[in-house]
């Protein structure tokens, strides 16, 4: 029990963050619904029809909507349709921490040395996450009920409980998959990368099933099983799908436990040769190790290649679906065509411009958050002290990190843009290539702004940098989503980094881009100051 308590303690930040994120999201969405749905049944029906058009357009991201004239239907689609992915991401971070991160920090060795069996360790960590997830989901359910009260709408408690059970199954399955993957790789960073790709692939497998028939592959996605449950619509739980999610979780937990039992600490389950066998006493000959900016890029080559490959797949997937989605919407009623025009989605090229870049910006933010985490870890793990023990000005460290971030992102964006171009060509979509290239290049301004702000935080308060920069990204996302919904003024809308980027393929917001560059410059200059005045390792 002590071990479970310890495991639960490791989840404190996650529980608080997920509870807060879930609660804020659901309450804001409930209030937003109350504001825009209208009072009369006719208004509600019109609203539902309009939103269903939007829902179909977003069906590769969110479940197909239903009963949008009710708060329950709206929340089921608008919030509970995406919150599963958030819980899955939390599970990924948590499982890789338990499966690798704590091992890297020596905690696992300490526990195992104090007569804790390996199976017991795995069981305790799973139980710790399960309890934490249950707490966060309880908070989400309570917040949903409060949101409904504030919106003066009715949501029954029973369906809310069932919704929580469904999300719990998905979170646990995601945790189990990531925990198993953590046994197969050597580092937490590797586990995060591989686990992220696998979970994202499973998510897109589910998304693909929304616009085509489910395949055998679909049955391997816990996201698909979770989506079969729509309890807020009064449909209850699909017993087979729910059972499948928990079965997934059980199988992968057992596999992870067996793998952990069999492998050596600090090693993956299948271990390659530790070295070429040839003894070396000279420095590495590759000149890239000695060059500014390129050295960190070369050191992260596998990580960057993984991101580039992953984003290329996502780009190809989205662009490949473009024609199907736009054609189906354009062949709909006149209202739908009008909506497409107003949303700037009337052509294939414009559709790619809006949808692809809105996804790319989110994923590049994730990449930037990971880099900020690395900068904080440089400090905590002593690498920064070693770098600064060389005759290197602190300013160079700041500028080199930001330059490496931009260069890494540029490589990722270039590869994924090429994939998007080939997908467009394959689909006979007449892509506005100069506009696409410009939009791809301008997205680096968002990375610059976010990265510079992240570096300032990493230099000023390294321990809170990751949480703070993640909060800025989440804030930017919500603000961009909610500002149009509530009709907030531009000044509020522009407090989102993503809104400042806008939709450059249709119209470049040069003022916004200039602001992003300005934020980047101010952040960088402030970072230089913070880095110069701070104590290393403090």
């Amino acid at each position: 029990m002590t071990l479970v308590r310890l495991a639960l303690r490791f989840q404190r930040t996650g529980v608080i963050a997920m509870s807060a994120l879930g609660a804020i999201g659901v309450i804001v969405n409930a209030l937003g619904f109350a504001q825009i749905v209208g009072d009369s049944p006719a208004d509600r029906a019109a609203f539902a029809a309009q939103m269903e058009l939007l829902g179909k357009q977003l069906s590769y991201l969110l479940p197909v909507p239903s009963r949008l004239d009710t708060l329950a239907g709206y929340l089921e689609w608008r919030w509970f349709g995406s919150v599963g992915l958030l819980f899955s991401f939390w599970a990924l971070v948590s499982a890789t921490g338990a499966g690798r991160g704590d091992e890297e920090r020596g905690f696992v060795e300490t526990w195992l040395a104090s007569s804790v069996g390996r199976l017991r360790y795995v069981a305790a960590r799973v139980a710790g996450f399960a309890l934490a997830a249950a707490l966060a989901l309880a908070a989400l359910a309570i917040a949903t009920w409060i949101g409904a009260q504030l919106a003066k709408e009715a949501i029954a408690v029973g369906p809310l409980v069932l919704e929580s059970v469904s999300l719990f199954g998905l979170a646990l399955a995601s945790y189990a998959i990531a925990l198993f993957i953590a046994q197969l790789v050597t580092t937490r960073r590797g586990a995060l990368g591989v686990g992220g790709v696998v979970l994202l692939a499973l998510y897109f497998v589910d998304a693909a099933a929304r616009v085509s028939d489910p395949s055998l592959l679909t049955r391997l996605s816990p996201f698909w099983y979770q989506e079969q449950n729509r309890p807020l619509l009064g449909e209850g739980l699909d017993p087979a799908a729910t059972l499948a999610m928990f079965a997934f979780a059980l199988v992968f937990i057992v596999l992870a436990a067996v793998a952990f039992e069999r492998r050596d600490l600090g090693s993956p389950l299948v271990r390659g040769r530790t070295s070429s066998g040839q003894r070396i006493t000279r420095p590495a000959r590759n000149p890239l190790w000695r060059l500014p900016v390129l050295a960190p890029i070369w050191q992260q080559r596998v990580w960057i290649a993984g991101w580039a490959a992953g984003l290329a797949v996502v780009a190809y997937f989205i662009v490949s679906l473009t024609k199907t989605i736009v054609d189906s919407m354009a062949s709909g009623p006149p209202l739908m065509r009008l909506y497409l025009e107003r949303a700037g989605l009337s052509g294939y090229s414009a559709f790619v411009g809006v949808i692809w870049f809105s996804i790319l910006i989110l994923l590049l933010s994730l990449y930037t958050v990971a880099q900020v985490a690395g900068w904080s870890a440089d400090d905590a793990e002593g690498r920064l002290a070693t770098i600064l023990s060389a005759p290197v000005p602190r300013a160079r460290v700041v500028l080199e990190r930001i330059a490496a971030l931009l260069l890494g992102c540029a490589l990722v964006v270039a590869v994924s843009s090429v994939a998007a171009y080939f997908a467009a060509t394959g689909q006979a979509i007449d892509l506005d290539v100069p506009g696409f290239a410009l939009a791809s290049a301008l997205i680096l301004t968002v990375v610059f702004a976010l990265g510079a702000a992240g570096h300032l935080l990493a230099a000023w308060r390294p321990r809170v940098a990751v949480i703070a920069i993640s909060a800025i990204a989440v804030w930017s996302y919500f603000l961009q989503q909610l500002a149009p919904l509530f009709g907030w003024p531009d000044v509020v809308k522009n407090a989102s980094l993503y809104a400042l980027y806008g939709t450059p393929m249709s119209e470049v917001n040069w003022a916004g881009i200039t602001t992003l560059v300005g934020i980047g410059i101010v952040g960088t200059v402030s970072s230089l100051w913070a880095m110069q005045t701070r104590d290393v390792g403090a």
Binding site: T274, S275, S276, I280, A284, S389, A390, D535
Partner: protein, 303 residues
């Protein structure tokens, strides 16, 4: 003789009595200087101040006449550094870590790296995470010595090294000194400084206790005495001996520490039948401990 390191009132105050306070220290060029103290005494804080990693609360430090804080980059062109807490390089190979840091320094030859790695028997082909603690320490030493710096600052450098490689390390230090370099090393292992240091400073609770040569330090040594009496221990007479501290009296054996002259002790036991007497010169370890024990060693009856 010029100063390699000079501090004046160097202070880093972390609050609650933690840190280093008003440190006045001079390390001459070409000497090997030991910086001793127990855990938490302020050794690492001092070294991090000298390396410009942290900023002083007050006072100043100079290396070769340059301010360690304001001229940190210039200072480090002449300094090699081995941190007390080893950095984590994860999946990097040793050769990659060396190449990366050599690239940052720009004044490292591959031959010198090879010479030190051979001497320490370190295989740079292996990944950092596969290294034992001792091998990680060796890599840190390679990074510290590879630029042939004029000053080497080492924070507990032999931690994790086996005796064979400790000897190799001492050899590196002696070679550096014979090449004209200054070595500043912190330690809580006194045998280590006995091997290589010319002078020693002792710090305790963030304050400098003393700076002395090894010979001067030996002058304040105490002797551990064990006397076996045929007729029982004359405890009262022993307690009255000036400079003698009776640690234990177990039946017929008396154990104590003697500082100063032997004559009063010999006179005190002259009328007793003695079946055994052992006088052992204490190691620096024991001398060192006398500096750090707040109260005297337990006396008879306290055990």
């Amino acid at each position: 003789m010029t100063e390699a390191i000079q501090t004046q009132g160097l202070t880093k105050d972390y609050g609650s009595g933690r840190g280093i306070f008003a440190l006045d220290l001079t390390v001459n060029e070409g000497e090997v200087f030991g910086f001793l103290g127990p855990n938490g005494a302020g050794k690492t804080t001092t070294i991090r101040l000298l390396m410009g990693m942290i900023h002083p609360t007050s006072g100043s430090g100079r290396i070769f006449g340059l301010d360690v804080d304001a001229d940190a980059v210039t200072v480090k062109r002449r300094v090699g550094y081995c941190p007390g807490e080893l950095p984590q390089w994860g999946g990097w190979r040793g050769a990659e870590v060396v190449a990366y840091v050599a690239g940052l320094r720009g004044d490292v030859t591959d031959d010198e790296v090879g010479r030190i790695a051979e001497r320490l028997d370190l295989d740079l082909a292996r990944k950092y995470r596969e290294y034992s603690h001792g091998n990680k320490q060796k890599l840190a030493l390679v990074l510290a010595f590879m630029a042939r710096p004029k000053l080497v600052i080492l924070d507990e450098p032999t931690s994790g090294l086996d005796p064979l490689h400790q000897q190799a390390f001492y050899g590196l230090v002696r070679d550096a000194r014979s090449g004209g370099a200054t070595v500043f090393l912190s330690s809580h292992v006194l045998s280590e400084v006995e091997h290589v240091c010319d002078r020693i400073a002792i710090v305790r609770d963030g304050k400098l206790v003393t700076v002395s040569t090894l010979d001067q330090l030996a002058g304040i040594r105490a002797y551990r005495i064990e006397i076996d009496f045929a007729d029982g221990v004359p405890a009262e007479r022993l307690r009255a001996v000036p400079g003698f501290e009776l640690i234990s009296s177990n039946g017929q054996r008396a154990t104590g520490m003697l500082r100063g002259n032997f004559e009063p002790l010999m006179a005190a036991v002259a009328g007793h039948r003695i079946t055994g007497l052992v006088s052992r010169e204490p190691s620096l370890e024991e001398v060192f401990l006398t500096y750090y024990s707040d109260s005297a060693a337990p006396t008879v009856g306290q055990r």
